[in-house]
């Protein structure tokens, strides 16, 4: 062992505090800048958080303004008067929770649409919109805490009707339903003989085109004509179609609707409904044929803008803008009635009617030329209370449906709303065409199937487009979901 080291005693610091040097000043400056930056970022994040919260809650407008739409005060007053009339002598209070899949500006629009009801009755309507609505609702239902009202496809309503007691609308508002909606519309919102849901918007599938550049077959042509034209355009080096499938969590959903439309126009409404109800298997030759008809266009790099990979990548919100681009990158799009609104909202220089129009999708079988598929959602109630009853009566009224139609965002299915309510000529045309007596509405899997099949089919479309030879496997996979395997 060596000698022990002397203990080091701590002595008080005697050296004077060093003078402020350029370095310490710089360090302080850096600290100040860092602190200011951190504060600014925190403030920016807080503001962004508040804004997104407001957006999510759909409180983007007050009075008659929401989602960038200013309602006509007369229509707002009429809707408010109707809500008061519905309320009558009842004392309504509290709030209603509604969940649907419209978020952002569409949620704000709906919240404004509900505003006259709140003004008249004092019942606050809390709308929560989410792109993942089906799963969010499912988690609430599984937890035994469903919202008061839900907006989903009718198939999901059927699914919940098996496990929960939903509010039977025919038991207290059958007159309004029969007066305001056609029997076929009411039938799609029914379980058995009773109506359970009310449509707010009602969107059909159409073929959208730019009248100034479109060279394809016009109304009355057959789907074979469309396919021939597509091939001609492909040979000439032009991509005829925009077919954006990239919708984030719902990738492939546009293709699912496209396939249903082709199916309905070849095999008719009855078989389409059987398919939706699970009676016609996904592995049937008819369903396979519809996928292949879709694939004949969508799986061909020469026929779709950006090739197959491009169509799988493009966002559905802007993916149809190629119709009005300069130069145009495509000439036709098959999608819902909301397409005009989407293109007008994201592309410049759109004049509905002049450089953007729609027509009925040509049929493979002339017998089914007026068979039309649609993609719409019904609002129905888990809770039976005077407030939910009054609210459903309000949204089913002519006055409320007229107010919603005036937003020029979606067509509505109320047969008493005149087409002139829309200022957009495309929506006027849709209202005249699709709610007429000649039209046979066809509900397919997107409307009637359970959640697993709808989401599985959308994924199946993506898998099919990635690898068309896997079609049998893809269809078997969807059928397994249908069978709960």
């Amino acid at each position: 062992m060596g000698p022990s080291l002397p203990r080091v005693r701590r002595t008080p610091r005697t050296t004077p505090k060093p003078p402020k040097t350029a370095r310490t000043r710089k360090t302080r400056q850096t600290r100040k800048i860092t602190a200011a930056l951190a504060l600014s970022l925190a403030a920016a994040l807080s503001v962004a958080g508040c804004a997104s919260e407001q957006q999510a809650a759909g409180t983007g407008g007050n009075g008659g303004n929401g989602g960038g739409v200013t309602f006509d005060p007369k229509l707002v007053a009429a809707a408010e008067a109707k809500a008061k009339e519905i309320m009558g002598n009842q004392k309504l209070s509290g709030s209603l929770s509604i969940m649907g899949d419209n978020s952002g500006s569409e949620a704000a629009l709906l919240q404004s649409f509900y505003q006259p009801f709140t003004q008249a009755t004092g019942v606050k309507v809390n709308y929560t919109g989410s792109g993942d609505n089906l799963n969010v609702v499912q988690s609430r239902v599984a937890a035994g805490n469903p919202p008061d009202l839900v907006t989903t496809a009718p198939g999901v309503m059927h699914q919940y009707a098996q496990t929960h007691t939903l509010l039977n609308l025919s038991s207290f508002m059958s007159d309004e339903l029969n007066q305001n909606f056609t029997p076929s519309v009411n039938a799609t919102a029914s379980i058995g003989n009773a109506v359970y849901g009310v449509y707010q918007g009602f969107n059909n599938m159409e073929l959208w085109y730019n009248p100034q550049t479109y060279t394809g077959p016009k109304a009355g042509a057959s789907w074979q004509d469309v396919q021939n034209w597509t091939a001609q355009q492909g040979k000439a080096g032009k991509t005829a179609w925009c077919n954006a499938q990239g919708g984030g969590t719902s990738n492939g959903y546009p293709g699912e609707l496209f396939i249903e439309a082709l199916f309905a126009k070849k095999y008719g409404a009855a078989l389409t409904e059987q398919w939706g109800e699970g009676k016609l298997p996904w592995t049937s030759p008819q369903v396979k044929d519809a996928f292949q008809m879709f694939g004949a266009i969508a799986a061909n790099d020469s026929y779709v803008n950006g090739g197959v990979q491009g169509s799988l990548s493009q966002d559905t919100g802007t993916g149809s803008d190629g119709l009005v681009a300069s130069p145009p990158t495509c000439q036709a799009v098959v999608w819902g009635s909301w397409t005009g609104g989407l293109i007008s909202g994201s592309a410049k220089g759109v004049t509905p009617g002049q450089n953007l129009a729609s027509m009925q999708i040509p049929a493979s079988n002339p017998q089914y030329a007026t068979t039309e598929t649609y993609s719409s959602e019904v609002t129905y109630a888990f809770k039976d209370s005077p407030e939910t009853r009054a609210f459903l009566q309000y949204i089913a009224s002519d006055e409320a449906q007229t107010l919603l139609a005036s937003a020029n965002h979606w067509p509505v299915s109320d047969k008493n709303v005149p087409a002139s309510t829309y200022t957009d000529p495309n929506l006027q045309n849709i209202a005249k065409t699709y709610f007429g007596p000649d039209i046979q509405l066809a509900a397919g899997p997107a409307l009637l199937s359970k959640t697993a099949v709808v989401t599985g089919a959308a994924k199946g479309v993506v898998s099919y487009l990635e690898n068309p030879s896997s079609l049998d496997t893809v269809l078997q996979g969807i059928q397994d979901l249908q069978d709960g395997k």
């Binding site: 799988l312 989401t455 994924k459 993506v462 709960g484």
Partner: protein
Amino acid sequence: MNAMMTSVPALIAIGAVVIPLLVYALLGVGERMLQLVGGRAARYIRPWFWLIVPLGLMAVVLVYPMAETVISAFRDAQGRSWAGGTNFGWAFSGEMLGILGNNLIWLIVFPLGTLLLAVIVAVLFDKVRYERFAMTLVVLPTAISFAAGSIIWRQIYEYQPAGSAQTGLLNALWTLIPGTKPLAWLQTPTINNFCLIFVGVWSSLGVAALILSAAVKAVPAELVEAARLDGAGEWRVFRSVTLPHIGGAVLVVITTEMIFALKIFDIIYVMTNGNFGTNTIANRMYFELFSSQNLGRASAIAVVLLVVAIPIMIINIRQFRAERIR
């Protein structure tokens, strides 16, 4: 009851007032009783009595759900009858093999990528005067939720066909290189998995860098000084002095990121929803539970995740303890 459970003020009142009052009353009454009992028995019982609330809470929020999940994993889709090992058989066959393969890629690339960048950040930032500012920038993404971050990156990776204006930042830069065509980053197999992993690295780098930065600062300065006096270059100092000293922190970062990789969900869900060969087991679990409503399969996946995560968690916890003792 439902109205109360969905009312935010009611929940705040329950959480902030009712529950603390109940716990206070319980402990107060218990203490009185223990005083009455007195002696050795009271001394023996007292700690267990004070642990009643936390143990009860653990049982309700941790043990019961875990046991319920394990039982559900052996039952059918609706949990009505026993299904044996069918759900586990499914979890290791068919398309699940591809999904497990993706998780394996995440399990290897994500922790290593994060660690590599975090080490670079921690070591290099330690040498500059503007370290705080630079570290703030690196840590900033951790303030953004994974879902929001994924939306930002989905836009950065956005693809437009060749000839169209590239609205995605990455393709806009990529196509500046003469002769290149825009790439579908999220739709092209293999590349897309790495693009998604990069988003995870971007989101997690801040925390990893902070852990390693603290470890780097704890390396004794005299050792570094001595190594330099002995003629060691910066690389040699890093390899022979810094790295051995931050080994514990490195292990903590790796195990933490491995657990994160196992349960990766948000990024996949928002950016591709598992399409284009990017699905992971957590995303599939979500699909099975909420879309398919197959409780058995979802539970089986959860059990597999738990079993794989347990050894990693044990290493992680041990390392944390060892770091604390040091």
